[in-house]
């Protein structure tokens, strides 16, 4: 029985690639490989890639749904779809894009990059990370299983009652929505916990809180926001399910319930959520743009603080989704004011990016084009949001295509463009190969022009009075030609996305081999090989500034980060735990090895929700038993993780 060491002073060593220590580290961190490895891996890089791939598949599915809807709206009185099919399509388009693509893709980036950016060997809770992915995948499948049965959710992504109540929607459609969202909420919540603890405890020594990259700030703020908002709305979904199945009256008007209660509960989560799906993306730009401007980001502190302020204010603006519900004018004016003030943190970020471009020497790579294009789309989306913050104007704009335009500019503009740019930027690090630059530039222009031609006329459609979610419209309202332009533009944008996917698939095999740091980026991930070894860092680096790889050339101060020399930590899977603010070395963290319990627990949880959906209580019971056993297995104290004091 190996004697359990509880205290050891870590060796300081020099990292050489083929040194004996890297073989030992390889043994410690390599999973079994093959199918068993695939199911049981807890490596943050594997989970990150899976998040990215699954999220992009949902993006494509959501895109197909959008394409079918646009075909239906191309001309007045079109008969391609029935009203019910259209309702299910626009609901699944919304749910897929906002819940199954937007945050998961950012989780993909963050899961892959956080340990590399922070100088750690893995996330704080590797098994929780795997569990979070599996639950997300099963929630996606849970929502999509209803489609072939023709019983997909059909009341929009914010699912207003009483149309969502049993009296007007007696099928299982809305139960699939409610339970699916609670399941997805579990994945998001545990993911948020994982990110927050990783930020507080697993930074490389010396990387104090004001030296972490902006992507970290973005994801951290999003995680704190989700930690507060997602459990609350999961309760609201559960209340809706109880109303529908067990005759409670939370939202039932005839017995004292209130439809407005649902609107408030949903949007209190809704607005923080839409900030959670854009702040990390803004973080990607804030980290990627400086590399291509050949200079550090202008105003690191203002941008970091504006990210946090945006989320804090984000909790105080939700009624701007409900200006037309007849609430008292005083209340609405308050929320109108907060919705206008929230423009300021965004302004800080925009001017910081422009200043970085203006005072830097921009290098026109594809990634940079996406980041630059993002800035203008961000501003267009921002100002159209600012217009809806004015209560009386919103009484005309709300529930029309102006809002559809605004939400597409913000979500595609602020999430999709940075994500695609981020893939161009970090593809070499993920795969060791560069993506094709010329195809990349063509992809940008096709996507940028397609997007603007497709979605800018939606503003005009909104101004000429086209309401949201109508599956057809009569002639004579002037909506026909504009809808045609929107459809063509959106198809062009779709072509752009396909070009990007082709670029990714082709570059996997035939991309130019990329070194460790093809773009001469400043942050830690560029100090590792491409793709990084399974243990990330041979020795835990020490950090002395915000831009470790640019310190020499920025000649500020004389202490230097060192990625060649640091703590060895090769006794099993270990990484360095540091204090929260100043990141001083604090403890050696023993990391759990690959395990099946996350997958098992996720499967049992999914079975629990399927049992609840189908009212088969024995399945529910069985799932509960398996959940308990899997949890015990998961939390069983392991000697190898020195969780047992002998």
């Amino acid at each position: 029985m190996t004697e359990v060491e509880t205290f050891r002073a870590p060796l300081v060593a020099r990292a050489t690639d083929r040194s004996r220590s890297s073989q030992i580290l390889e043994q410690n961190w390599k999973g079994p490989g093959g199918i068993a490895g695939w199911l049981s891996t807890v490596d943050h890089k594997e989970i990150g890639k899976r998040y990215l791939v699954t999220a992009f598949l949902f993006l494509l599915i959501g895109g197909i749904e959008a394409a079918v809807m646009r075909a239906q709206l191309t001309q007045p009185n079109e008969h391609l779809l029935t009203a019910e099919q259209y309702s299910q399509l626009f609901t699944m388009h919304g749910v897929t894009m906002i819940f199954l693509y937007a945050l998961p893709v950012l989780s993909g980036f963050s899961n892959y990059l956080w340990p590399l950016l922070l100088g750690s060997r893995d996330m704080a809770f590797p098994r929780l990370n795997a569990f979070s992915y599996w639950v997300f995948l099963f929630a996606g499948i849970f929502l999509y299983v209803s489609f072939p049965l023709g019983a997909a959710p059909d009341d929009g992504w914010f699912n207003y009652v009483p149309y969502a109540s049993r009296a007007y929607n007696p099928g299982i459609n809305i139960d699939v929505y409610a339970l699916g969202m609670v399941l997805l909420g579990i994945s998001t919540t545990v993911g948020s916990i994982n990110f927050i603890v990783t930020l507080l405890r697993l930074r490389a020594p010396g990387m104090s809180i004001n030296r972490v990259p902006i992507l970290i700030w973005g994801t951290l703020t999003a995680s704190v926001g989700n930690l507060l908002a997602v459990p609350a709305v999961s309760l609201a979904f559960f209340m809706l399910w109880m109303d529908r199945q067990f005759g409670t009256h939370f939202f039932d008007v005839s017995a004292g319930g209130q439809p407005l209660l649902w609107e408030h509960l949903f949007w209190m989560f809704g607005h923080p959520w839409v900030y959670a799906i854009v702040l990390p993306a803004m973080g990607i730009v804030s980290d990627g743009l400086p590399t291509f401007c050949r200079r550090p980001l202008v105003g690191y502190t203002p941008v970091a603080l504006s990210t946090v302020t945006a989320m804090v204010l984000g909790f105080g603006v939700w009624v701007h989704h409900m200006f037309a519900t007849g609430l008292p004018a005083i209340a609405m004016s308050y929320f109108s004011a907060t919705s206008m003030i929230i423009v300021i943190p965004s302004a800080v970020a925009v001017f910081s990016w422009i200043a970085t471009i203006w005072t830097g020497r921009p290098v026109f790579t594809s990634a940079f084009l996406f980041f630059a294009g993002f800035v203008i789309l961000f501003v267009i989306g921002g100002v159209s949001g600012f217009m809806t913050a004015a209560v009386p104007v919103d009484l005309q704009l709300t529930h029309t295509y102006f809002i559809v335009a605004h939400l597409h500019y913000t979500i595609i503009g602020i999430n999709v463009f940075p994500v695609v740019g981020g893939i161009f930027y970090w593809f070499p690090k993920f795969t060791g190969r560069l993506m094709n630059e010329t195809l990349g530039k063509w992809t940008f222009w096709v996507m940028f022009i397609g997007f603007n031609v497709g979605f800018f006329p939606m503003h005009i459609l909104g101004l000429v009075g086209m309401p949201r979610r109508i599956y057809t419209y009569p002639e004579g309202l002037g909506w026909g030609p504009l809808n045609l332009i929107v459809t063509l533009g959106s198809y062009l944008f779709a072509i752009g996305v396909l070009m990007f996917v082709v670029n990714v698939l082709v570059s996997l095999k035939r991309g130019k081999v990329a070194g460790d740091n093809p773009w001469d980026g400043p942050s830690l991930e560029w100090s590792t090989s491409s793709p990084p070894p399974v243990y990330n860092f041979a020795v835990i680096p020490t950090v002395a500034s915000r831009y470790p790889l640019w310190e020499a050339r920025l000649h500020q101060g004389d202490d230097r980060s060192s990625t060649r020399q640091g703590f060895l930590l090769d006794k099993g899977r270990e990484t360095m735990g540091t204090t929260s603010l100043d990141a001083e070395p604090d403890v050696i963290l023993k990391m759990p090895s690959d395990a099946y319990s996350p997958l098992l627990l996720a499967l049992a949880l999914a079975a629990l929700f399927v049992g609840a959906l189908l009212h088969s209580w024995w399945l529910l019971g069985a799932a509960l038993v398996v959940i308990t056993l899997a949890s015990i297995a998961w939390l069983w104290p392991q000697r190898s993780l020195s969780q047992i004091e002998t």
Binding site: R361, P362, A390, V391, P467, T472
Partner: protein
């Protein structure tokens, strides 16, 4: 190929489209009543500021892009600037200007909110609107109960006076919206929301349900017809006048068919039909549209609608196969007498 050449055409597109689209029926680029005009002015103001901001940012961005452009990161070792600083001024100036603009807009917004909240004078007329899945029931109330009557989907209001609307829903959330007269107001079951409209000049102003309310949300339109006070009074009297009893044989047969097949859901004042499941059909032929604005009101459309409503408005509550053949022609003939 720079971003600039795409921005210019889109701004032009916006300007050109503004003029051509101003007069489409549902456009609120131009409104015709005191409840809508202040909103439109504020809307144009904020819109102009937005376009200005976009243009400024676009110019700055393009400027920044082409100022020190380098072909390739050839001498990658070399960084743009040694010093960390520089560029903070951008943030201070940019955020400062933005904050000032925001505060001005906020002030203008509060003023406009106050103006449009309440009608200038207490409305003489109150219309009770009941939104139900996929049409609008209207009840004109008045101090003298016998001048209280019910109609559907077509609201008449006197020009130049504010009219109060009490909105109630009997099933799901709808939204009462006549864009050319004022902002929308959601109709939420369990509570009565109040809004007001006023038209400066006579005309037909189209409205539509704005919140998703089920299968035929797309075909739940309404029309507000502003009449001169004289015409409005005439219209009210006309609605209160009972149609003469059917004269010819076929019309009498048509009334019998109507009483047998349709009276359970529809009402015609003056006859024995008084159902409230469907719209009140008194003086049906005086209305411009059928099935909540879905199709213009012509005898041909009426016959087509009665014969097979599910093909024109699938999901509507009106069932198919209710009357056909000679019954259909008789009942259409009878309905045509309801002027």
């Amino acid at each position: 190929m720079s971003a600039r050449c795409t921005l210019v055409p889109s701004v032009a597109l916006l300007a050109r489209s503004a003029t051509t689209y101003a007069d489409t029926p549902m456009s609120y680029l131009h409104t015709y009543g005191p409840a809508g005009d202040p909103i439109t002015r504020l809307g144009w103001g904020l819109g102009t500021i937005s376009i200005a901001v976009i243009s400024v940012i676009a110019v700055l961005l393009l400027g920044g892009l082409f100022r020190h452009r380098t072909e390739r990161a050839s001498d990658d070792a070399q960084l743009a600037v040694g010093r960390e600083g520089g560029g903070m001024a951008w943030i201070y100036v940019g955020v400062g200007v933005s904050t000032v603009v925001l505060i001005i807009c906020m002030g203008w917004t509060l003023v406009t909110t106050a103006i449009v909240l309440h009608p200038p004078s207490t409305p003489a007329l109150t219309v009770q609107v009941v939104a139900t899945q996929w049409w609008w029931r209207l009840r004109y109330t008045s101090a003298n109960p016998s001048r209280t009557f019910t109609t559907a989907n077509e609201i008449h209001i006197p020009v130049g006076q504010p009219v109060r609307f009490e909105l109630a829903s009997v099933d799901v959330i709808h939204s009462f919206w006549v864009p050319q007269l004022s902002g929308k107001m959601d109709v939420i079951p369990g509570q009565t929301n109040v809004t007001w409209l006023e038209a400066d000049k006579p005309g037909v102003y189209r409205g539509q349900c704005a919140v998703f309310c089920g299968a035929e949300h797309a075909r739940m339109a309404l029309e507000v017809i502003a009449d001169t006070p004289v015409d409005f009074r005439a219209w009210q009297d006309d609605q209160l006048r009972e149609d003469p009893p059917p004269g010819s044989v076929t019309v009498r047969a048509g009334q019998r068919v109507f009483q047998a097949h349709c009276a359970a859901c529809h009402a015609i004042r003056g006859s024995d039909a008084a159902g409230i499941v469907g719209p009140d059909l008194s003086h049906l032929m005086s209305r411009r549209t059928l099935a909540a604005g879905s199709l213009p009101n012509t005898p041909g459309n009426l016959a087509g609608w009665i014969a097979d409503p599910q093909s024109l408005k699938p999901g509507a509550q009106m069932p198919d196969h209710l009357v056909s053949g000679p019954d259909l022609t008789a009942v259409v003939e009878y309905l045509n007498t309801l002027q």
